[in-house]
């Protein structure tokens, strides 16, 4: 069993919730999310936050939810990493 990095796990969660499939595998830390992925509308953002909360056992506050958090896969992964370390 390969140990997944934080980036890998966040990416996997994103791919699952948005059903991105193979196209999702091509995403990397610099890939823009909000505004670039048509699947990522406000409803999908809510599902994604919920999935991240449950997957990683973190709690996302209102203040955490800004467009910049979802700017790229990297910014999202950094956000999750910080929460996991808290």
């Amino acid at each position: 069993m390969t140990i997944m990095t934080n980036l890998d796990e966040v990416k996997a969660t994103l791919i699952d919730v948005l059903s991105l499939g193979d196209a999702g595998q091509r995403l990397n830390a610099d890939s823009p999310l909000l505004g670039s992925l048509p699947e990522l509308d406000s409803m999908a953002v809510v599902s994604l936050i919920g999935a991240l909360e449950e997957r990683f056992g973190i709690a996302v506050d209102d203040d955490d939810i800004s467009a910049s958090t979802f700017e790229t896969l990297g910014s999202l992964a950094d956000f999750v990493a910080a929460k996991r370390a808290a």
């Binding site: 140990i3 059903s19 406000s42 409803m43 953002v45 449950e54 990683f56």
Partner: protein
């Protein structure tokens, strides 16, 4: 599959009974998820019911008050009414199938099943918990976000822009429109006040099923924590993980076939243990 109504008029509840194939092994009462997740998971619930029926279980799906095809508006739904509905469904099953009852809950339905199980006055079989939510309060916040996310992404500047503000409105007695659902403060309060799953120890063991996106992923921390908490109180929790799609969260309808297999396998192990 037999559709029917329990009760009548303003009190009716829509039910679906999946008749067991072959020798009847027991009865299952489905406890559905909340709001949008109920819609997203209809297909998977139907597949689950059919699979359990094929495996010899009589499965009852009851639309809880204010949801589905049952009487009542969503705004009139209440947690205690929902527990009464489960009681009604359970009694219907008990009158027809003489066996301990399996409560099968999905997402918030898993917590509702656990909360209900504590007060059941008849024998229960081990519970089946599909992807339980982390807690009532967390789930309520996730639901409220359906409204704040629009504001966050600039789609509705008039919306209150924080879950804190929405909670304050609920506390002040205001019913809120969340993505088309009229959320009544009483229902919100009941969900918010649910004890943590650690404290919702059932009188019988339970099976926790978690869906992971890839074989390399570790399960979330909640299952292990709950297992330790319950086992300290003498109640076994069996944790099963399967790979598949998070069908309660995907924007397009999806299913998780391996979850069906794992559920039946868990029942099978139990049968062998007897």
């Amino acid at each position: 599959m037999e559709p029917f109504f329990l009760g009548s008029g303003a009190d009716q509840r829509f039910c679906l009974f999946h008749r067991p194939a072959g020798r009847c092994r027991g009865a299952v009462l489905y406890v559905p998820p909340f709001a949008e997740e109920l819609n997203r998971t209809r297909r998977m619930a139907a597949l689950g019911a059919r699979r359990l029926a094929a495996h010899g279980y009589g499965v009852l799906q009851i639309d809880l008050y204010g949801t589905g095809d049952s009487a009542g508006d969503f705004g009139a739904a209440r947690w205690d009414l929902w527990k009464q509905d489960l009681d009604t469904g359970a009694a219907w099953l008990r009158a027809r199938i003489d066996a301990p009852l399996t409560l099968w809950g999905l997402r918030l339905g898993a917590l509702l099943a656990l909360d209900y199980a504590r007060t059941a006055t008849y024998p229960l079989a081990p519970l089946l918990l599909w992807q339980p939510v982390a807690g009532g309060s967390t789930h309520l916040t996730q639901f409220l976000r359906l409204r704040t996310a629009h504001a966050m992404l600039g789609e509705d500047a008039a919306a209150q822009n924080s879950t804190k503000a929405l909670r304050a409105a609920l506390d002040a007695g205001q019913t809120l429109d969340i993505a088309g659902y009229d959320l009544d403060p009483e229902l919100a309060r009941a969900i918010d006040a649910l004890p943590a799953p650690d404290a919702l120890v059932p009188p019988v063991p339970a099976h926790w099923f978690e869906v992971l996106g890839a074989p390399g992923q570790a399960p979330g921390p909640a299952a292990a924590r709950l297992k330790a908490a319950w086992e300290a109180r003498g109640t076994p929790l069996h944790v099963h993980t399967v790979t598949g799609s998070p069908f309660w969260a995907t924007t397009a309808v999806s299913t998780c076939p391996l979850l069906l297999d794992a559920t039946v396998d868990a029942l099978e192990e139990r049968a062998h243990a007897v």
